[in-house]
């Protein structure tokens, strides 16, 4: 039942909305499909981000992709919880460290071990619309454990205008998506974060988008 709803939701509703209401301009789309298992790293402005990123893949491939999402927000009430777990199939991540002995990245590690690809937002939250924040370093801890999984950086612009944090009315805007060159863990945390931030900033510069207030 849930998988039928999931199919209707993603294949008909989301893809329809993305095609008709939003509209995408994607640069270097082929880079998304080069590797079987990937960690897709993107900037985060809107709830639409995850839906749009997942809609970029054919349904079969999409079933292998799970977005990493904040436990405190998505598992908060029963409806949202059902939707997040059964329809979108998120990997829940705790934003607050409760104890030093608990591994906060366990859910992500498990999903990667099972062969899933992940969508990660290292900014941690949607934040101010269309503003790129510094990436948190949690992702480097994860990559250190999985040095042979490739990281694909993706920069998105426009969805923060269409549906920013705290708004519920969707206003149509075109969305620009820039897919960066995939890269691997280089053995050093600082170096890795630099590569990631650099690659993200370069992608953002390609678009030359003005600030949005």
């Amino acid at each position: 039942m849930n998988s039928i709803l999931r199919y209707i939701w993603f294949e008909i509703f989301v893809k329809g909305v993305v095609l008709v209401v939003l509209g995408l301009n994607i640069r270097n789309r082929c880079r998304l499909h080069r590797h079987k298992q990937i960690i897709l790293v993107a900037n985060h402005n809107s709830h639409l981000d995850t839906l749009v990123l997942m809609s970029l893949f054919p349904y079969k491939e999409m079933n292998n992709i799970r977005p990493v999402a904040a436990m405190d927000y998505f598992l908060e009430n029963p409806v949202r919880r059902w939707f997040a777990e059964k329809i979108v199939r998120i990997v829940p991540l705790s934003r607050h460290l409760r104890s030093v002995r608990v591994d906060p990245l366990k859910s992500c590690s498990d999903a990667l071990k099972e062969g899933y690809s992940l969508i990660l937002y290292p900014e941690g939250t949607r934040g101010n619309p269309e503003k790129l924040k510094d990436f948190k370093t949690g992702i480097s801890h994860l990559l250190k454990r999985f040095p042979d999984i490739v990281v694909v950086p993706v920069f998105m612009h426009g969805l923060g205008k269409a549906l920013p944090k705290g708004e519920f009315l969707l206003v149509p805007f075109y969305c620009d998506i820039f897919v960066g060159e995939p890269f691997f863990w280089q053995g050093d945390r600082v170096e890795f974060m630099e590569t990631l931030n650099q690659s993200m900033n370069d992608l953002a510069k390609q678009g030359d988008f003005k600030a949005w207030n």
């Binding site: 509209g23 619309p129 205008k161 920013p164 009315l169 206003v171 075109y174």
Partner: protein, 314 residues
């Protein structure tokens, strides 16, 4: 079926002719690719393929009924408006106002379906003009107010008001049983506008020397403009008797306003793009650029052609 063909003979033949042109273009492109593999014809090939899709959708919606054609036009206006609002600088507080602008699209086309020309002609220039200003005031942010009010209303005028004039040809009163209908008028306008674009390009490429307006569009030359307008006038006169109730002189004038209007519509969108420092308005139509790049000329030719017909027939 037979009745339909008899009533729309001219239109069916004309659309058949357009498909023939597309077949010729596709075949010549394939031959060019084979003969001169050193040149890159991908862009041209993409452009022709996109033309196929546009023509098929346009032909189906025009041949079926006014409802279908209005839906087609609502969609075209929506895509153009979305592209425009994504290009221009907007403020976060403008979101709600933009939503009102989008809502105006189906309403504007509804007046045509409702046969209410008076409302059609004032809805965007008067009521939407006032509403946009009012809604922006209620938003309460004065910084950037004038820029938002100006850009949003300009977008409405270009992508909704102007383009809806194409469908408004439905309201021109015509004698029945002549094979001439609103459908042939729409075809006449759209075909001449697109051919005018091509003619200006070809004349400009072949004989162009002196630039008309180098600051806005360095590719526009006097030869392109004059050659294009003259070609359009000749075609307008030749096609006039089959698609319009216009006489010889009136057809000539129709060709003149479509030729000149197409030129100015084109450079107006060029000026907009130059201001925003972009090359194409989008990538919705592969090989053409954005939807505004394709509809630019029509934003001028459609109102001019409609009002010219109205002077004569109402």
């Amino acid at each position: 079926m037979i009745d339909f063909l008899r009533a729309n003979m001219n239109l069916v033949i004309a659309i058949g002719g357009v498909f023939l042109l597309l077949i010729i273009a596709t075949v010549s492109c394939a031959i060019l690719k084979k003969r001169k593999p050193e040149n890159d014809y991908n862009e041209l090939g993409l452009r022709i393929r996109t033309w196929w899709i546009i023509v098929v959708i346009f032909a189906v919606s025009l041949l079926s009924c006014i409802e279908m054609f209005l839906v087609f036009m609502v969609f075209a206006s929506f895509l153009a408006m979305k592209e425009y609002f994504s290009l221009i600088p907007t403020r976060r507080v403008d979101r709600r106002v933009l939503l009102w602008a989008y809502l105006a699209i189906p309403i504007q086309y509804w007046w045509i379906y409702d046969d209410w020309f008076g409302m059609f002609i004032i809805f965007v220039p008067v009521y939407m003009f006032l509403l946009i200003g009012l809604r922006l005031v209620l938003v309460g942010q004065t910084e950037g107010f004038l820029r938002s009010a100006g850009t949003i209303h300009w977008g409405l005028m270009m992508t909704v008001f102007s383009l809806s004039h194409i469908a408004c040809l439905y309201l021109i009163p015509l004698d029945e049983g002549t094979g001439i209908s609103w459908k042939t008028l729409v075809f006449y306008l759209m075909f001449l506008t697109q051919i005018n674009d091509v003619a200006q390009y070809v004349w400009g490429k072949s004989f162009g020397k002196f630039k008309v307006i180098p600051h806005i569009s360095p590719n526009k030359t006097v030869a392109g403009l004059v050659g294009g307008v003259v070609s359009t006038i000749i075609l307008a006169v030749v096609l006039g008797p089959f698609f319009t109730p216009l006489n010889f002189c009136q057809s000539m004038f129709a060709g003149l306003i479509i030729g000149l209007g197409g030129f100015f519509g084109d450079i107006t969108i060029s000026a907009l793009k130059r201001d925003l420092k972009i090359k194409d308005s989008g990538s919705f139509l592969p090989g053409h650029g954005g939807i505004l790049d394709r509809l630019d000329s029509l934003t001028f030719t459609a109102p001019l052609f409609l009002h010219f017909l109205r002077y004569i027939y109402t």
